[in-house]
Amino acid sequence: MKTTTSGLTEAAEPVREAGEGLGRAVVATFRRDLTAVARRPGDALTPLVFFAMVITLFPLGISPDPERLALIAPGVLWVAALLSALLSLDGLFRGDFEDGTLEQLLLAPHPLSLLVLAKVAVHWLTTGLPLALMAPLLGVLLALPQGSYLALSATLALGSGCISLIGAIGAGLTVGLARGGMLLSLLVLPLFMPVLIFGTGAMGAALGGGEWLGHLAVIGALLSVSLMAAPIAIAASLRISIHG
């Protein structure tokens, strides 16, 4: 065993086996993405501002009458949340694709589906969760009746998890395409519809004084299914986009 010029590494170790340090790799990827967002908070704020702006359009476009607004508020809030998620999803892998780190991620000796899960988790933490926390404020603007604020936040928090996971499949498929963002919305919006239906359904139930936790449980079930199935599809779509 000789030392390198710097004496840093002992030797080019002869051949070893795969499968160590998965946890460390996932945590490092999670921290790296979180740091990257923290360095450029504007990127994370844009979807939130967009969300607020879309909400503002509705009273202007329909009527400032609180009763009419209250009627459409749950749907409007949810649809605006879906649209603003689309806005951020396009960038989920694009930056990594352009600077070449995505290619390096695919070469890591770990299951890609778990590594991308770290990236999706950061996406949810920096877009979905803030959106869920901010939504009640905008609910006030739309005269959302009392009693559905908790349902709004809770369904958005869980639902945006589904959206991040399912949307990441589309983001993976379109990352290598010029103007992939347009196609991304076409691919994933139909897949978001069940989440939208149960999200607004839960709010309707809460408004009617009914039991909305059951609806939340359905969204939770959708989230668990997405958690199990989506990472595999995300990994497959990234492989297609990078290696063809």
Binding site: I169, P190, P194, A236, S241, G244
Partner: protein
């Protein structure tokens, strides 16, 4: 089993077998659709509630059946293509997708035409029609992603993945849309679900459904043959095939 699978995967072998099968499929499709439509349109009794307008069922229902089945077939082909790298599966999928989208569009249009006399409006957010509309979006996505890639090979894989993701979602979408529909229109009248349809009404329907499936098979076989020639045009066996003829 494996030998058969691999044989089936060979474009050359498929080209030959499809040539032998497709005339039978076309004949069967033509006969069934002819019998079914004459029976259904001219001889089946009129509906006691809807009169003659119900007869559009003989197009609407088979088209809706095919629309859903073709998406399943698309996902199955995608799976075969991704797992066993059998190119024929992808060629067939590429040919099936536009047909499926067309069937979905026919189901939507005929549903809408049917809705006018029945509901008094061209469009109603009926659970089935809404699911159909979402299915159309899924079809469009699969067709668009295939063309979006510069390399056909990548487009094929992307379309396969999307079809598989879509097929997992279809039951969820159907269930959620049905639930949503009961939530908003508790007393909605669904056009295709009738308590008891007399034999002379549903027999032609059955024949039409079978005819549409036969048409699907014939169409896919014929189009896949053309696609084989297009993609394998530079291979020796294709060149030999056309050199022998003149």
């Amino acid at each position: 089993m494996w030998a058969f699978f691999h044989k089936l995967g060979s474009p050359r072998w498929f080209y030959g077998i499809a040539a032998r099968l497709s005339p039978w499929c076309w004949a069967l499709a033509l006969a069934l659709i002819l019998i079914g439509s004459v029976w259904g349109l001219a001889f089946a009794p009129a509906d006691y509630q809807q009169g003659n307008s119900f007869r559009i069922i003989y197009v609407h229902v088979p088209a809706a059946f095919l629309a859903q089945s073709i998406f399943m077939a698309l996902a199955a082909s995608g799976f075969v293509f991704m797992v066993w790298k059998i190119k024929i599966a992808d060629m067939a999928a590429a040919m099936m997708a536009p047909l499926g989208a067309a069937m979905t569009a026919i189901a939507l249009l005929s549903g809408s035409v049917w809705g006018k006399p029945t509901w008094g409006t061209w469009w109603q957010w009926d659970a089935r029609l809404t699911s159909m509309l979402i299915l159309l979006f899924l079809y469009l996505g699969v067709m668009l992603i295939r063309r979006a890639f510069a390399r056909p090979q990548s487009g094929a894989k992307a379309a396969s993945v999307l079809a598989m993701v879509g097929v997992i979602n279809i039951p969820i979408i159907k269930y959620s849309v049905e639930w949503w529909n009961t939530l908003h229109q508790p007393a909605s009248f669904t056009i295709t679900e009738r308590p008891a349809m007399p034999l002379e009404m549903w027999m032609p329907l059955l024949i039409m459904v079978l005819g549409f499936y036969a048409f699907f098979a014939a169409f896919t076989l014929t189009r896949t043959r053309t696609e084989i020639l297009r993609r394998e045009g530079h291979k020796r066996w294709v060149k030999e095939l056309f050199e022998e003829r003149p």
